[in-house]
């Protein structure tokens, strides 16, 4: 028996009854399955890509490019094509993906299903905004061509639809032009959360890409101190476009011991990271790989979290009162003994996604990686959910492995009924069963 696919957090554990590798996107036949979910490269953190007891349809072999117009930057490919592979083909011709996550090892299908966002959300919105059309195989036996003008409802349900509306067979996206692979980056030190948010606001006006790393181990006035990073592509042609791609520098060979990423080591790491930059402002030029995908250099870094795995918590809250909300969330996490060395703050812009279930909303979004510890941590996150929901915010399904069903429904109350009408009866996932299992209401 093959090993069951896992998600990036390696939590929860899941056992698929059946694992099928799709060889050709056009061959996918859903009539054979009772409960199936498409699986790409397993970079979502929680259980949206898992199907405990059901079928997992792996799509990574379906990675052919169906068309690429080098003049207009429109590319159509099977849904299993990774952004890593795509970039190797399009960058030399002066194109880049309009939206990229922090790893290039995601598939186009996964990018659509989770309606991913990047450091330039304030400029271009989510990935779904750049999808011109897509193919969706449903259990009715047909491949539906979906766009804003054709099968519009299905298109909007599929963007951010967590793979539940059918199997995405191909995606057509609009790329953005670049003249160089080089990024001009500035890193600014912020001594407090307030300063960090103010610097983010300022940066968003001038810079295409902004994101902040925050040291969540600090308390009191220093709470939320961190580094605001902002970048933009060089606009001059400098001949770097056909430059080489880096393979992974390291590969984590085995699961790490549980003490490796403990509160103590994380606190020490964060202090070093914050103090590594001595000046208030540091300016550098770097390759796009270093800027966008710093962690891709270490293959399987998620194994460092050891046996119990890790979790990511990502929420968005409105900008109004956002600083205060963030402070409450961070203190709650500290109270729950949660430690994280990858805590990221970003401001989402106002551009809306066509996706019905799409996660981003205008406001502040906070993302934290954390080792799974125990009950206290889960209780603290439940408390965070209540804070987030209380101000009209929500959590991101692609990162989630624990939000209670009633809370999820409450957070997505405005759209969930509309979305459910488009779910394909053959599709299901561990995530979806979890968040629809209980009907106990949250007011």
């Amino acid at each position: 028996m093959e090993q069951s696919p896992t998600s990036w957090g390696r939590y929860p554990q899941s056992h698929a009854a059946c694992i099928v590798d799709a060889a050709w996107a056009h061959d996918v036949d859903l009539s054979r399955y009772q409960s199936v979910i498409a699986y790409g490269l397993g970079r979502s953190y929680g259980d949206v890509c898992l199907n405990d007891g059901g079928t997992v349809l792996r799509m990574h072999r379906c990675d052919r490019i169906l068309s690429f117009d080098r003049q207009t930057g429109v590319l159509r490919a099977e849904s299993g094509l990774s952004i890593a592979d795509l970039l190797r083909i399009v960058v030399p011709h002066g194109w880049f993906v309009a939206v990229t996550p922090g790893t290039k090892f995601v598939t186009l299908g996964g990018a659509v299903a989770n309606d991913i966002h990047g450091k330039n959300h304030h400029r271009v919105g989510t990935f779904g905004r750049h999808v011109r059309s897509l193919g969706l195989r449903r259990s009715d036996g047909h491949e539906h061509r979906c766009s804003l003008t054709e099968n519009q409802e299905l298109f909007q349900a599929t963007i951010g639809g967590m793979g539940l509306t059918g199997v995405i067979t191909w995606v057509e996206i609009a790329l953005i032009p670049i003249a160089s692979r080089q990024i001009e980056q500035e890193s600014l030190k912020a001594r407090s959360l307030g300063e960090l948010i103010r610097l983010t606001d300022e940066s968003d006006d001038e810079w295409d890409y902004t994101v902040s790393w925050i040291d969540v181990m600090q308390r009191g006035a220093s709470l939320g101190r961190g580094l605001v990073m902002r970048g933009r592509f060089h606009e001059q042609v400098d001949g770097t476009l056909s430059g080489p791609w880096k393979g992974p520098l390291l590969r984590v060979p085995v699961q790490g011991p549980s003490w490796l990423l403990s509160p103590l080591t994380i606190k020490a790491f964060n202090a070093v990271w914050y103090n590594r930059q001595l000046s208030r402002l540091s300016r550098t030029n770097m390759d796009l790989e270093t800027f966008f995908y710093p962690l891709d250099g270490v293959e399987r870094w998620n194994l460092l979290y050891g046996q119990r795995g890790m979790m990511q918590y990502q929420c968005v809250v409105p900008s109004d009162g956002g600083e205060d909300t963030m402070r409450r969330i961070l203190s709650t996490m500290q109270g729950g003994g949660i430690s994280s060395f990858l805590a990221v703050l970003k401001k989402f812009g106002t551009l809306t996604s066509p996706g019905i279930m799409s996660f981003p909303r205008p406001g502040l979004t906070l993302t934290l990686d954390m080792p799974i510890t125990g009950r206290r941590m889960f209780d603290a996150l439940d408390q965070c959910d209540r804070i987030v929901h209380g101000v009209g915010g929500r959590v991101y399904p692609a990162k989630d492995a624990r939000v209670p069903a009633a809370m999820f429904r409450a957070m997505y109350a405005d759209v969930i009924d509309r979305f459910e009408a488009s779910i394909d009866p053959a599709m299901s996932s561990s995530f979806w069963r979890r968040v629809t299992s209980s009907t106990k209401a949250i007011s």
Binding site: M1, A23, W24, H26, R64, I65, L66, I89
Partner: protein
Amino acid sequence: MKSLSVVVIGATSGIAQPVARAYASRGATLFLVARNAEALSTTASDLLARGASRVETMLADVQDSVRHDEIVRAAKGTCGSIDVVLIAHGVLRNQQEIDHDVEEMLRLFEVNATSVLSLAQRFGLAMESQGTGTIAVITSVAGERGRRSLYTYGASKAAVSHFLAGMRGRYKPLGINVLDIRPGPVDTPMLAGRPQPLIATADAVARDIVKAIDRGWWLLYTPWYWRFVMAVVRLIPERIMMRLKF
């Protein structure tokens, strides 16, 4: 300068695809033959997007040997002088699956062996006067010893390896290299649902194949360790071999 011209028979197969991609990224002209129209056209567009300077396709079932001459003619028409022909088609059945269906057993032999001999011979004749080129054929490590679990498949691959050894002698003086590619188990749709130890990725195998063609090797074990594994397997006496269960 004329771009490299590459003919791939069984172009939609799991190993052929990454090999064709490697040539596409070098700007090659590709002539592809396969029997599934949709998969073939998908493969063709993929190779064009990945940098092939030209891709032509031909829909054909290799069992249809009357069309083999047509395949060679069309390939010559597209490529002019053929730099590389890769014969990559094949099917895998355990002996158990075909044991009681002798017709099916012979069909397997026809696909894996007879059609390959026919195509290799015809391409050889067509390339004879070029004075350069490579005829590369995917066989298998399974072709070296007869084993109870896989003997029709093994025999089909052994037949081809034997044939290639002879062809090599004939074509070497004419400047044409005949390459016998012997992979171990490779993670492709052909092996779907057949879990294997020591399984290699198709990308790794494809890199080896392109390297072997570039360097003019006449025998390739891929991944490399199969060369040593098979050196040992060849030494196992038949009286022991016949008692082995695999």
